[in-house]
Symmetry: C2
Subunit: 249 residues, 2 copies
């Protein structure tokens, strides 16, 4: 480590952020439907070892993940209405409530893509605000996945505006399951619309450090990726080979 | 129509089923997340025109679909825990309850694939039986999607056994969103395990009449496809060009 500080945060003497500051922006993610318990445990242990922002897993693994990261600064995140966004608002709210009850801190919901494409902005906004209400009432953070690869430029703009109006905390590019992922152009556009009011999460196809840095440079302050360890290792993080058992799990 | 009868049901004087009998096995399906209201209306009108078994749409369109098919013999089906199966049982139950309350008759849930691969058969079974209870209490039909493309041969066998034990009404091959779809071999295997106790639904990649007939020959008694009109047209159905407005929608 050539950096003058080991504290997380962008090192102002360098153009490249420290690995710790990048780690603090990463949602360490495993959302393959066929992911096993062993893989989820491993993911959560890595999240603690490298101090990632979140261990991001499916709802069925949320209680397990919460038990593993307990006592570390790492949060657990889950998706809702994932990955198609076409469930009822009541269902997305219930998903969020159940997750927060278990100890999850962050919920990434997919917006109602079909409603957006049908011109029903009221439904898109009320869908988001309905979930935002339950998430915020329970002290959580709500990210809204636009699924940019399915949207036109106008739809991306409108989606960002509706997410702001609905009280979301982040806009996010992609689920990773609809073809296409985060692009620098989309991140810049999203940051341009939301300004400093919301966070911007780049997700889908972010696999190497150069990708992550480009997204951050374009305005992302959160990165969703399954390659978090490789990314921070590329930026100088040590290899942590032993599993870390934080809780009594 | 060269057949001696126009009534639905397999014509015993022919080796090939009538188009009507095939139509009566088709879940006419539109699950693209970007599907619009106009496309959903069109799908439902086609389902009524050709007397398909179900109009199969996302939850967000369920109320609309129910309003369109009302008065016809066509049912509305929706997915739950779709397409990854990794949500909580409580969420899948809530999704089913909400859908049935709206007037949906059939619910296709994705089993907990990660739990199956982690050896947690109890969770897989209780997940299905929990949803089956709500669905049956409300007079509905429950199909269980195995997502065969992600499973080993042993996992497919176990999944069918658990679906039987849990009281499901159908086993079903695929979501159509995980790569791979229905195969004749999988249908034969599934029918072999469930016998006459459950139905078998072939879904994913069934695009032409020959596919559908091969699936039926192998043991399927329901076909999930977005190509229902092309399939029954291939089997002799007339072209119905005018939209059919059944209800006052």
């Amino acid at each position: 480590m050539a950096h003058s500080t080991l504290l997380p945060g962008v090192d102002s003497t360098q153009t490249q952020p420290t690995w710790q500051s990048v780690a603090g922006m990463i949602d360490h993610t495993l959302l393959k439907p066929e992911a096993t318990q062993v893989q989820v445990i491993h993911l959560c242990e890595e999240a603690v070892a490298y101090n990632f922002a979140c261990a991001f897993v499916h709802q069925t693994w949320a209680a397990l993940a919460v038990s593993i990261v307990r006592g570390s600064g790492v949060k657990v995140g889950v998706p809702a209405g994932f990955p198609q966004g076409a469930s009822l608002t009541s269902v997305k709210r219930f998903e969020a409530e159940e997750a927060l009850r278990i100890g999850v801190s962050e919920v990434d919901m997919v917006l109602n893509i079909g409603a957006l494409k049908s011109g029903d902005r009221n439904l898109v906004q009320s869908d988001i605000s309905g979930v935002a209400q339950v998430v915020h009432d329970n002290g959580g953070i709500l990210k809204v996945i636009l699924e940019t690869s399915l949207l036109t430029l106008d739809e991306k703009l409108v989606a960002c505006q509706l997410a702001v109006a609905a009280g979301a905390d982040f806009v996010k590019t992609s689920t990773g399951f609809a073809g296409g992922g985060a692009t620098v152009d989309d991140i810049a556009l999203m940051r341009g619309v939301v300004g400093e009011r919301l966070g911007v999460k780049a997700s889908g196809g972010v696999r190497i450090a150069a990708d992550a840095l480009a997204m951050i440079q374009a305005g992302a302050n959160r990165i969703g990726t399954s390659a978090g360890v490789a990314i921070v290792r590329d930026l100088g993080a040590p290899l942590i080979t032993e599993p870390v058992h934080v809780s009594g799990y």
